[in-house]
């Protein structure tokens, strides 16, 4: 017979669950409100979500304080792992979500926002991501990942037009394949070590001195394939441009940030110890993968005719750039990853929001897609402020100082140099130069071409409302004045990363 289990509530550290529970409860709240009184205006749900996320953020600040004092906390039968990485990434997840959600308050009506379920699913998704990053148990990672992904597929499809269905189906199907890869990889690790917890896997492997290197590699291959999919590394990236194009612009922007940071955290937890224990193969593979992802994505972005697709490829390239941090695997590089991603969130969300406020429902005849380059011709003449802001985001993405991404970029390249990856640093630098071309292309269209005849500038803000403008303003300010906060950010991030042992 089984002996009864006695567990004290204190030992469970239930507070580790608080940041995830808040959005779940919030989501349920939204469903319940809808149950009692349907047909509410979307603004209610937007503000409610914002509020919930705000509370979540405060809760995170609180756990950050606890972490700063006590170090890493394990909770609920050691499933939860609240370390610096978890906290930092949750900050990014929740912060980016807070920037995202007001974008629902558009001037035009779009299908998804008429559902209260949209907001509920959104909050569930956040919770899923939060679980995913704050554990080292592969089971919870998997479940969290799937929760978030399933919600995300739905959010994409809810935009309700052909392209978004297509995007959702593509994403979903490939996601299912990736899920298969993930479970296979985990299975091999389990077979090797009898555990699905990363720290234990690491311990057992180290104790075995990596004798079953073949098995380790199989596991790594499948896990790499699955996270390669999430992080859209070449050649697992193929969904990215299509999905971004198919989904609503802000969601695309969101997808370029939040799911990726979650995946980065897991990848960091999974691969870091392998790299440090001298699995050269992984190093080589990651090296190739990083370079391929950066370069090829850039090269494809060059030939795009649609701004959103271009931004999709560009975000692939940025992800590749950041992936280098995991390859380098020093405290500096991991800090650089967070710094980069925080700064990237502002800029990238800002640029996708700019696309969002210029979203048209009916495309004019000459326009092939929602956000083709032509559309932005001569924007500076008809909408100078908007053009300037958009230009700013592009410059920041290109890594022109002193805008936000520049600081991330130099810290990342510096970490490559410090880590001994000189060639990689050079490749990273040259890729930035290639990337310059397509960002510049938009600037060229906006600033140097003449406006199309029927374009009176209204189109660039046809979807704008005060909340949208506010978000863009915040993103712009964050992009321009990043240099003021970079130091604090850097110190904060480094402290958290260092104290988590990465």
């Amino acid at each position: 017979m089984l002996a009864p289990v006695n567990v004290s509530i204190e030992s469970l550290n239930l507070m580790t669950l608080v940041p995830m529970l808040i959005p779940i409860i919030g989501a349920l709240l939204i469903i319940i409100i809808d149950l009692f009184k349907s047909e509410q205006d979307k603004s209610l749900y937007v503000m409610l979500s914002l509020l919930i996320l705000g509370v979540d953020f405060v809760a995170l600040v609180d756990s950050a304080g606890v972490f700063a004092n006590n170090g890493t906390i394990m909770g609920v039968f050691d499933v939860m792992l609240i370390d610096g990485l978890a906290i930092l990434s949750q900050f990014i997840i929740v912060g980016a979500s807070m920037l995202f959600i007001p974008l629902a308050l558009t001037h035009k009506r779009f299908h998804e926002f008429s559902y209260p379920e949209f907001f509920a699913l959104f909050l569930f998704m956040i919770a899923g991501f939060q679980f995913m990053v704050s554990t080292d148990n592969l089971i919870l990672v998997f479940v969290g990942l799937e929760t978030a992904s399933l919600a995300l597929y739905t959010l994409i499809a809810m935009h309700n037009r052909d392209k978004s269905f297509e995007a959702a189906i593509k994403y979903f199907t490939m996601g299912a394949l990736a899920a298969g890869f993930f479970s296979f990889g985990s299975m091999v690790f389990y077979a090797l070590t009898g555990s699905v917890e990363i720290n234990k896997i690491a311990a057992v492997l180290a104790a075995n001195n990596y004798e079953d290197i073949g098995f380790v590699l199989i596991a790594v291959v499948f896990l790499l394939a699955s996270f390669g999919f999430k992080l859209s590394m070449v050649p697992f990236h193929t969904w990215t441009p299509d999905v971004y194009e198919g989904s609503a612009a802000p969601l695309a922007g969101y997808m370029s940030i939040v799911p990726k940071i979650a995946a980065f955290i897991v990848a960091m937890r999974l691969f870091e110890f392998l790299i440090h224990s001298g699995v050269v193969w992984l190093e080589v593979i990651l090296y190739i993968g990083v370079v391929m992802t950066m370069t090829m994505a850039n090269v494809w972005a060059l030939v795009q005719t649609d701004v959103k697709r271009m931004l999709a490829y560009s975000s692939i390239s940025h992800a590749g750039f950041v992936m280098a941090a995991i390859l380098i695997g020093t405290t500096q590089s991991n800090s650089a990853l967070f710094l980069y991603w925080i700064l990237f969130s502002f800029t990238n969300l800002g640029s996708f929001s700019m696309l969002w406020i210029s979203r048209q429902k009916n495309l004019p005849a000459h326009q092939q897609s929602d956000h083709s380059y032509d559309k932005f011709s001569g924007m500076v003449k008809t909408a100078p402020v908007a053009a300037t802001i958009m230009g700013l985001f592009m410059l920041s993405l290109a890594g022109i100082p002193p805008f936000a991404l520049f600081w991330g970029k130099i810290y990342m390249i510096s970490s490559a140099i410090t880590g001994g990856y000189t060639v990689l640093a050079l490749i990273m630098a040259l890729n930035s130069a290639i990337a310059g071309y397509y960002y510049l292309k938009l600037i060229v269209y906006m600033f140097m071409k003449d406006p199309l005849t029927e374009n009176n500038g209204h189109v660039y803000s046809s979807n704008a409302t005060l909340p949208l403008r506010t978000i863009i303003g915040i993103a712009a300010i964050g992009t321009i004045f990043a240099f003021i906060v970079v130091n604090q950010l850097l110190e904060f991030v480094t402290l958290f990363v260092y104290n988590s042992g990465y």
Binding site: T418, L440, M448, T494
Partner: protein, 517 residues
């Protein structure tokens, strides 16, 4: 106020640019002139306050920016940078003052003010990252100026300009980060401060690698052969004001950076690479001069001539002695004035005829005598006639390099021949002969607004040619400091030999302090 004069110089135009958005379109020109004049006044004030007897940095300011990563906002000025800063202020002023009727003039003037910020910033920055910041940022306004107000190929030209320089400077950035890493290894602290880096003595192989990394950034900016092809496009397509500022100031960033970074940081590498670079410089001089001769477009002639002259500057820089480096700095200013003026002059005729093809002209000397005269003076300055500003620089640069190599100097000296060839033949095509095109017969001579820009430039050209001492003295002082530093830092025998020992009795570190009193 003097304590912060450099920051004011850097940020005043940008601030004014932002406020300029509010100014009405019809008054923006006056606003721009006013702002630029104030800026120029400040620059002149800086000159007066500048102590020529100090070889080190003056008016230094330091604000922590990202101390965790060793990035600080540090600015300072010495004899090397002082005059380029003044020149930048000057050119922006006369550039705005002489602007003709153009579309979107408001955007243009605001852009120019931002450009001014970046230009001044590059020359006063003493932190590598801050330097890089302004360096990169300067591309953006220029991109816009060329791309929005340029000729038919403007987009190609501007994008090429941007990407080419951008690519080069990214390699340089890697070099900078590497340098900081070395500093970190040596001292355990991150620092991008140039003066900190000066104290670092690197092993020779590292010096060479880093030199190459920096070289890419600088060489493309200069632009050195074979990285020069963006320049003719940029100049050919840019509006007058763009070409003027590009030639007068932006190109100087590269050569300035060689003196500010490459020489003192990597003295041994500088010696190691002296000959290859000199050979490149000579190719630049002769080859681009020949290409200039083949041009049909007067602006292209001036553009290629710029490259050719930049070759002399590079050569002077890599003379690695006081004469050569002083000469190259002086030539930077000289070339700024002269090529700026030449581009102005090309702009004058372009405004009237909307063509720059030389065969469209001919006989202008009788139609526009004043124009021809000023053009002639600038032409003679450009070919380096003594008592014009260019001569001093060219003479000193070549003189300096002669110490390093006789035969190469002889080859480089052909600059004065080939320069004369393309310049005189261009002048002949445009100004001499009978008036062959009817539309040229009644062209108005230079007007007051244009003279506003051209007369000061002419005066400077001759004044500084006759009395260069005002500039040479402070430059010389700072250059002596640099050469001393290089001599003391160098580790190879070869470098010790090549770089003269200027002050045999003075230690490097104590030098600035001693001279300050």
């Amino acid at each position: 106020m003097l304590d912060h004069i450099l920051s004011i110089l850097v940020f005043f135009p940008a601030l004014a640019g932002i406020l300029g958005f509010v100014v009405n379109k019809n008054s923006i020109r006056s606003y721009g002139v006013a702002v630029a004049t104030i800026e120029f006044g400040l620059a002149i004030w800086l000159w007066f306050a500048f102590d020529s007897n100090v070889s080190g940095m003056q008016f230094m300011e330091q604000i922590a920016l990202v101390p965790a990563f060793g990035i600080n906002y540090i600015v300072g000025v010495d004899g090397v940078s002082l005059f380029i800063v003044i020149l930048a202020a000057f050119f922006t002023m006369i550039g705005i003052a002489s602007l003709g009727e153009m579309k979107d003039i408001k955007n243009l003037i605001i852009t120019l003010l931002f450009l001014q910020m970046t230009m001044v910033g590059v020359f006063v920055a003493l932190d590598a990252i801050v330097f890089y910041l302004f360096w990169e940022l300067s591309l953006v306004p220029m991109l816009y100026i060329i791309g929005a107000w340029g000729g038919p190929l403007r987009i190609y030209a501007s994008v090429k300009f941007f990407l080419y320089t951008f690519a080069g400077s990214l390699v340089m950035l890697v070099g900078m980060l590497f340098m900081a890493y070395f500093y970190y290894q040596a001292t355990g602290e991150w620092s991008f401060a140039l003066l900190d880096w000066y104290r670092l003595i690197l092993p020779e192989s590292f010096q060479n690698w880093l030199f190459v990394a920096f070289f890419f950034g600088f060489a493309i900016k200069v632009p050195m052969f074979p990285f020069h092809t963006w320049l003719p496009y940029a100049h050919g397509q840019a509006p007058t004001i763009g070409s003027v500022i590009l030639a007068a100031i932006l190109l100087k960033m590269g050569t300035y950076a060689f003196i500010r970074f490459s020489l003192p940081l990597f003295p041994d590498a500088s010696v190691y690479f002296m000959y290859p670079i000199a050979v490149l410089a000579i190719i630049m001089i002769i080859y681009t001069a020949m290409v200039a001769y083949a041009q049909k477009d007067i602006k292209q002639v001036v553009a290629y001539s710029s490259v050719s002259h930049m070759g002399v500057i590079i050569l002077g820089t890599f003379a690695l002695n006081v004469e050569g480096i002083t000469g190259s700095i002086f030539l930077m200013i000289a070339h700024g004035v002269v090529s700026g003026a030449l581009f102005f002059l090309v702009g004058v005729i372009y405004d009237r005829r909307h063509t720059k093809i030389m065969s469209e002209f001919g006989g202008l000397a009788s139609v526009m005598p004043r124009y021809a005269t000023i053009f002639g003076i600038m032409l003679m300055a450009s070919v380096g006639l003594p008592l014009t500003i260019n001569f001093i620089g060219e003479f000193l640069s070549l003189l300096g390099f002669y110490k390093q190599s006789h035969i190469l100097t002889l080859l480089a000296g052909t600059a004065i021949i080939v320069g004369a060839i393309y310049m005189l033949s261009a002048y002949k095509k445009m100004f001499f002969g009978e008036v062959t095109h009817e539309e040229n017969r009644n062209l108005p001579d230079v007007n007051k607004k244009e003279l506003l820009a051209l007369i000061p430039l002419t005066i400077i050209t001759i004044w500084l040619g006759v009395y260069p001492k005002v500039l040479l003295e402070p430059i010389n002082k700072s250059v002596e400091g640099i050469v001393t530093l290089m001599h003391e830092k160098s580790i190879t025998q070869e470098a010790k030999l090549r770089i003269p020992n200027v002050n045999k009795d003075m230690g490097l570190i104590t030098k600035p302090e001693r001279e300050a009193h």
